[in-house]
Every structure is written in structure tokens, then in C-alpha cells.
């Protein structure tokens, strides 16, 4: 009970301190003497401390199953394992917002400690913008989604956590994603501060670069974790569905990817000043916009979130407040850019970076328009349409081909000018090799269509070029090479996966067999067991293959009691080269099971390549600035 009050008052203190910091930082701008470096430091820490206090109170409430707390009541129950009690803290709307706040206060504090080489008023302005964001979150938490609402009389048992959220991956997926989103707020605030002070230059780029890479890396990992979770837990054998919620996490990632490249051009060549600021604004507002679209329930998605229109309205106002704030600041201070647009040579690194930005922004616009167009159409004409995978495939795949080719050539170019475009022959040879290879692959091993074949050729090209670069360049600029290599591997794995995937669906009783190419799949027996918080039906399948050891797969159906939900747990056998994926379903009023067996090659490599991509980012974060 005490923790309810503790958490609540800690939040209130956060609010007060935040207001104090906000006012102090504005005052200090006019009067430098007012600026007490040490006290601001302490205030920021104090705010962080109270956020920790509040968050740990909520964790404790979840651990001791204190059902007088509304959040705990709605998202937990006594028989749930301890691990999920703890992860349940941020597995719901209120708790996840509190986590946002915690991470936000931490990074604000961390930024202040690590920005001593920046001009004082820029730092102050950055802190001020951060406080605006923090205040927005605090008001939202306290007013519309307080995690410490008290219920009386105290119920005896909680309502439970949605079973598909009871997964170790989902315990770490949101925090990682939030780390990514929150660090974009630092980039946002700092770029606005730099804009006002006219500080956007190569030195600023050098300092902000670390933050850009940090958030890019976290976002990459966060999306990866979400995707792995979808693959293992949702049990449809897919890992990316072009679902609105997934698209929303991809959009800030795309604009960050553009920003990662653009900030390098700004650092090295002093170009793209205004574009860097615009991208910083876009990235952060897309993150908030995503929060709005997901939490307000304006879109319907497979990923369940508690929807509440009142909350949606609040986030909507907050979102547009931030958008208009940044747009007006941009318009007012725009002329502070020292414009020195240089004519660029075509075959240079900077022009390839611009090309990258051009394409990435196009991909972003496809996803953004595809996601929000149905909302526009419904409001304007009351018609409902669905925008699904075919739309995204049709608009993205053709543009991915030149994108991959530019991506292979770009890093081989030099800054400023490339007089003799060396290694031309080698590049062309590799190109021809890639085309032949992809033609062979799609001709003899799969049934790929023309566009897939061309895309395959392009990704083979990138793959070989990056391998060549890795060997040749050694440790020079290897973070970039590793990320690009990872990306080519990702596209390759996804393509090969989609070309070579095979499946069979059938209704089966115990003792039935089905043939799948040279394999025989046999349903041997069914078994019922009772677990702590669910009933379990296990099916034992044997997969026999000529000259090979038999494989036993045990997919499950789980019937959870709180809340009553039926889920299918796929049996997945992961190998280096392919995944075997078996999922069963109950068929209503029938004694047989619906069985779907899939063989999905290179699944493991999709995850590995995403890790390699983020590895490049990690290397860049820890690399010493020359």
C-alpha cells in the first residue's frame, strides 16, 4: 500500500523538479551568472532519482501482487511466475510510459554530464527542450495514465497478463526500443538548440554523432527483438507482416538511417546542415507519432494494446505541440544556417550519401503513406480499405535494386572528388558474377519471379563488394563496412528465405501420416498436462527422412485461464541452413488437428545479419573520435 503513495509522490516530485529546471534554464539563458552549473547537475540527478524511485515502487507492487493498485490488478495475478511479474511492469500502457520517463530522465542527465565541450547556452537550451518533453510525459502520466491508481475494496486476484506477452523476448524488447526512441529526443533537442544558436556545423555533427549511433543501434536491436518474438510467439511462421505497429517502429529507424549517413556528411564535408536538423525533427516526431497511432487505437493491428481515446487525444495534442514548436523554430531560425551549397561531383562519397537519403526517404514515405492513408480515406470519405504486404512489396522492391547497387559503390568512392574511378573493372566483374549467380539460383533451385531475381543479383553484388572491402580495407572504416555487409546478408537471407520456403497444410488425427517431398510427417500421440497457469495439449510429431536421423517436433496448444486465451506454440527446430516450423490448431467440433509444416531456409541468418548490422553501430559508438 505504501508503495502506491511512494510511487505517486515520486512522480509529483519529478514534476516539480522538472518545472524548476525548465524555468531555471530559461532564466540562465539571459543571465549567465544565474547559471549554477553544479545545482543544475544535482537537480537533473534528483529528477532521475525520483523517476527510479517511482519505477521501483511499481516493480515492487507487481512483485508483491498488490491488487489495490489498478495497473497491477489489470495486468498481473498471483500464480504468474516472478519473472513475468517483473516484466509485466512495463508490459502495459502505464508502466511502459513510466519506463519511458525513467529512460528520458536518465539520458537527459547523462547528456548534461557528457556535453561539457558544447557551448553553455546550447546545453541549456537542449536541457530546456528535454524538460518540455519530460513535462509532457509527466502530465500525461499523472493525468491520463497514472500507474498508481488505488482501487477499493482490494480485489483478491488480478486479471492476468495477456499470455502472448509472457515471453522473455518481450520482457527486453520494449526497454531496448525505448532506449532507441528516447535517445532520438536528445538528437531532437540538441538540433533545435543548435539551430537557435546557429551552432549547426561539423563540430556539432561530431558531438551529436554518438547519440545518433546509440539510438540507431538500440532501435535496430529493438526491432530485431520484436521480429524474433513475432516469429517464435505469434506462430504463423512469419517475422514481418507489414502490420501498422511494425511499420511504425520501422519509420523512425529509416529516418535515423538517413540521419546516420547525413550526419557523417555534415561532419566530414560541412554539407546538409538544414537537412540534418529536419531529419532530427522528423525522427523524433515519428517516434511520438508512432506512440499516438499505436496507443490511441486509431489503427487496428495484431499487436494488442489497451486503447483509450482520451489518451489518444492527449498524445495527439502533445504530438502536434511538438511538431508546431519545432516547425516554427525552424522557420524562424532557418536563416542562421551558413549556406554554402557546393556543387557536387557525381562520383563522390557525398553524392552517394545524398542518394542514400533520397531512397531512404522514399521508403519512409511509402510506409508512412501506406500506414496512415486508410485513416485519411476513412475520415474524408467513410470508406475503409486495407493496405497490406502486396502494396509495400510493389512499391519498395523495385527501388531496392538501385539502392543496393548505390550502396555497394558508394563506400568505394572518395570525398570531394574522385578523379580516377579506380577498381572499375573489378566492380564490373563482381557485378556480372552476381547476375549469373542469381540467375542460376532462381532458375535451378527455386521459382523466383523476375523482380526477385534482379533484386537477388543486386544483393549478391552488395554482398561480394562488402566482403571485398572487409578484406581489403582491414580496419579502416570497418563499422560502416560491417553494417553494409550485414544489410546485404539480411536482404539475401530474406530473399532466399522467401524463394525456398515450402509448406504443407493438412488435417490430421493420431496415427495419420502426410508426405512432404521426401519426408514423412507422422502424428504419433497427443498428451494433456496441467501447468501453473495454463492447460497444455502437446502433439508429438515424427519427421522421417531417408538416410537421416528422425526428428521429433512437439508443438503445443495452451489454454490460459487468466484471461482465458488459447494460444498455439509452434515447434521450431532451428538449424544453420533452415528452420523446421510446425504449428497445430484445434478445429471446432472436430477431433482432428489442423497441422501446418513449413521449411524455412536461412531464418537464423536473418537474425544474425540484423545483429551484424547493429554491431557496426556499436563499433562506431565505442570508436575513438580522431
Amino acid at each position: 500500500m505504501i508503495f502506491n503513495y511512494l510511487g505517486n509522490f515520486a512522480l509529483l516530485f519529478c514534476l516539480i523538479i522538472s518545472l524548476v529546471i525548465f524555468i531555471t534554464s530559461i532564466k540562465s539563458l539571459n543571465n549567465k551568472n544565474f547559471f549554477l552549473k553544479k545545482s543544475l547537475n544535482e537537480l537533473l540527478f534528483l529528477k532521475f532519482f525520483f523517476a527510479i524511485l517511482s519505477f521501483s515502487s511499481l516493480i515492487i507492487l507487481f512483485i508483491i501482487s498488490e491488487f489495490s493498485n489498478e495497473t497491477v490488478l489489470n495486468n498481473s495475478h498471483i500464480s504468474k511466475p516472478l519473472f513475468y511479474k517483473i516484466s509485466g511492469t512495463w508490459g502495459n500502457h502505464e508502466g511502459s510510459l513510466l519506463l519511458w520517463l525513467l529512460v528520458l530522465t536518465f539520458f537527459t542527465f547523462f547528456y548534461f554530464l557528457n556535453s561539457k565541450n558544447r557551448p553553455t547556452d546550447e546545453r541549456l537550451l537542449t536541457i530546456m527542450f528535454q524538460e518540455v518533453i519530460i513535462l509532457g510525459f509527466l502530465f500525461f502520466l499523472l493525468k491520463a495514465s497514472n500507474p498508481f491508481n488505488i482501487i477499493y475494496p482490494v480485489p483478491k486476484e488480478g486479471l492476468g497478463l495477456n499470455p502472448i506477452l509472457q515471453d522473455p523476448l518481450l520482457a527486453i524488447h520494449p526497454p531496448v526500443l525505448y532506449l532507441g526512441y528516447v535517445t532520438t529526443s536528445i538528437v531532437f533537442s540538441s538540433s533545435l538548440a543548435g539551430l537557435i544558436k546557429g551552432n549547426i556545423n561539423n563540430l556539432w555533427a561530431k558531438d551529436i554523432k554518438k547519440w545518433v549511433f546509440i539510438s540507431w543501434t538500440f532501435l535496430t536491436l529493438g526491432i530485431l527483438l520484436g521480429s524474433i518474438w513475432a516469429y517464435y510467439e505469434l506462430g504463423w511462421g512469419g517475422f514481418w507482416f507489414w502490420d501498422p505497429v511494425e511499420n511504425i517502429s520501422l519509420m523512425p529507424w529509416l529516418s535515423l538511417t538517413a540521419l546516420v549517413h547525413c550526419v557523417l556528411a555534415l561532419e566530414k564535408r560541412s554539407i546538409l546542415h538544414s537537412w540534418t536538423v529536419i531529419l532530427s525533427i522528423i525522427t523524433f516526431t515519428l517516434g511520438i507519432c508512432g506512440t499516438f497511432l499505436v496507443r490511441s487505437g486509431i489503427l487496428n493491428s495484431v499487436h494488442t494494446f489497451a486503447n483509450d481515446p482520451e489518451r489518444g487525444l492527449y498524445i495527439l495534442f502533445f504530438l502536434f505541440f511538438l511538431i508546431f514548436l519545432s516547425v516554427f523554430i525552424y522557420f524562424i531560425f532557418e536563416d542562421k544556417f551558413k549556406l554554402n551549397n557546393k556543387n557536387l561531383n557525381v562520383f563522390t562519397k557525398e553524392s552517394s550519401i545524398i542518394l542514400n537519403n533520397w531512397f531512404v526517404m522514399y521508403f519512409l514515405s511509402v510506409i508512412l503513406i501506406g500506414t496512415i492513408y486508410p485513416i485519411f480515406l476513412e475520415v474524408l470519405s467513410n470508406e475503409k480499405i486495407s493496405v497490406g504486404p502486396p502494396f509495400f512489396n510493389k512499391l519498395i522492391i523495385p527501388f531496392l535494386i538501385p539502392f543496393l547497387i548505390f550502396m555497394s559503390i558508394g563506400p568505394n568512392l572518395k570525398w570531394i572528388k574522385n578523379n580516377h574511378f579506380t577498381k572499375k573493372l573489378k566492380l564490373i566483374l563482381i557485378f556480372i558474377l552476381s547476375i549469373i549467380l542469381s540467375a542460376l539460383v532462381s532458375k535451378f533451385f527455386g521459382n523466383a519471379t523476375l523482380n526477385i531475381t534482379i533484386l537477388l543479383a543486386a544483393s549478391f553484388y552488395l554482398f561480394f563488394i562488402t566482403i571485398k572491402d572487409l578484406i581489403k580495407k582491414g580496419f579502416k572504416n570497418y563499422s560502416q563496412t560491417i553494417s553494409h555487409f550485414g544489410f546485404s546478408l539480411l536482404v539475401l537471407s530474406i530473399l532466399l528465405n522467401s524463394i525456398f520456403s515450402n509448406e504443407v497444410t493438412s488435417n490430421m488425427r493420431v496415427g495419420d501420416e502426410i508426405k512432404f517431398y521426401d519426408k514423412i510427417i507422422k502424428l504419433q500421440k497427443l498428451e494433456n498436462t496441467t501447468e501453473a497457469n495454463f492447460l497444455k495439449l502437446i502433439a508429438y510429431f515424427k519427421i522421417e527422412e531417408k538416410n537421416k536421423t528422425e526428428l521429433v517436433l512437439e508443438p503445443e496448444i495452451r489454454i490460459y485461464d487468466k484471461p482465458v486465451t488459447i494460444t498455439s506454440e509452434a515447434a521450431i527446430k532451428t538449424d544453420i541452413l533452415k528452420d523446421r516450423f510446425l504449428v497445430i490448431n484445434l478445429v471446432k467440433e472436430n477431433e482432428y488437428l489442423n497441422v501446418r509444416y513449413q521449411e524455412k531456409p536461412f531464418m537464423l541468418w536473418i537474425w544474425i545479419s540484423a545483429i551484424i548490422i547493429s554491431l557496426g553501430g556499436i563499433i562506431n559508438i565505442f570508436k575513438k573520435n580522431e
Binding site: 504463423w236 512469419g238 507482416f241 502490420d243 501498422p244 487496428n300 493491428s301 495484431v302 499487436h303 551549397n341 557546393k342 556543387n343 557536387l344 561531383n345 557525381v346 553524392s351 545524398i354 533520397w358 526517404m361 522514399y362 514515405s365 511509402v366 503513406i369 501506406g370 492513408y373 480515406l377 470519405s381 470508406e383 475503409k384 480499405i385 486495407s386 493496405v387 497490406g388 504486404p389 502486396p390 502494396f391 512489396n393 510493389k394 512499391l395 523495385p398 527501388f399 521459382n447 519471379t449 523476375l450 523482380n451 526477385i452 509448406e503 498455439s568 490448431n585 478445429v587 471446432k588 489442423n594
Partner: protein, 124 residues
Amino acid sequence: MKTKIIIYIIFLFFTLYNYSFSYDLKLENKINKNLRCLICQGQSIYDSQSDFAESMKLVVKKKIESGMSEEEIYSFFKIQYGEWILYDPQFNTKNFALWLLPILVFLVGGIIILKKFGVSKKRL
């Protein structure tokens, strides 16, 4: 000369474009993946295991067996359940903006880049 080549390329592109998306994927799965489930509204009936999705899959199968083409099956579902049920939005008067806006963004982006940085034709 150059413009002629470009025109040929564009022509080739458009002819191949529609062809290239006619997947060889098993027709049934392709149609199932393109129909949105009414019960769990975030997924296709291919991915869904709800009763109505299962029934729909059966209907698709029966219709294929009875010799209906892909387009006929889509239009059947569109009449019964509305355009909402199709995951692949059609190119019509109310959706043309959906298809063309991204392309417009791409073109405008290209124009801005050309204007700002003067990557002129000479250098190409």
C-alpha cells in the same frame, strides 16, 4: 538517342512490372495471404486460425477448384465483404493517391537534390 533509350526502358519496365508480380506461389496461399481476416483484424486469413478464416480458406479452395480465376475470387470477396477485405488496395479513384504519393515524394526529392546541389547533366 538517350531519350529513346529511356523510353524503351520505361516501356520494358511497365510490361515486365505486372508480369513480375504474378507470383508462382501456390495460388491458394497467395489468395489467402491477400484476404484480411474479419475476426482478428490485423492478419490475413492465411495466418489466422479463427473459425471464419478457416471457412474462408475452404471457400477459396472450392472456388479455385471450380475454375474461378484469382481476380474473380477477389471480386467475389469484395462484393460480399467490401474492399476492406483485400490487402492489396486496387488502383482506383479513391486509392490513386495512395499509389502515386510515394512516387511523387520520390520525384520531388530528386528535383530538390538536383536544384540544391546542381548535379547537372554535364557531369552525368
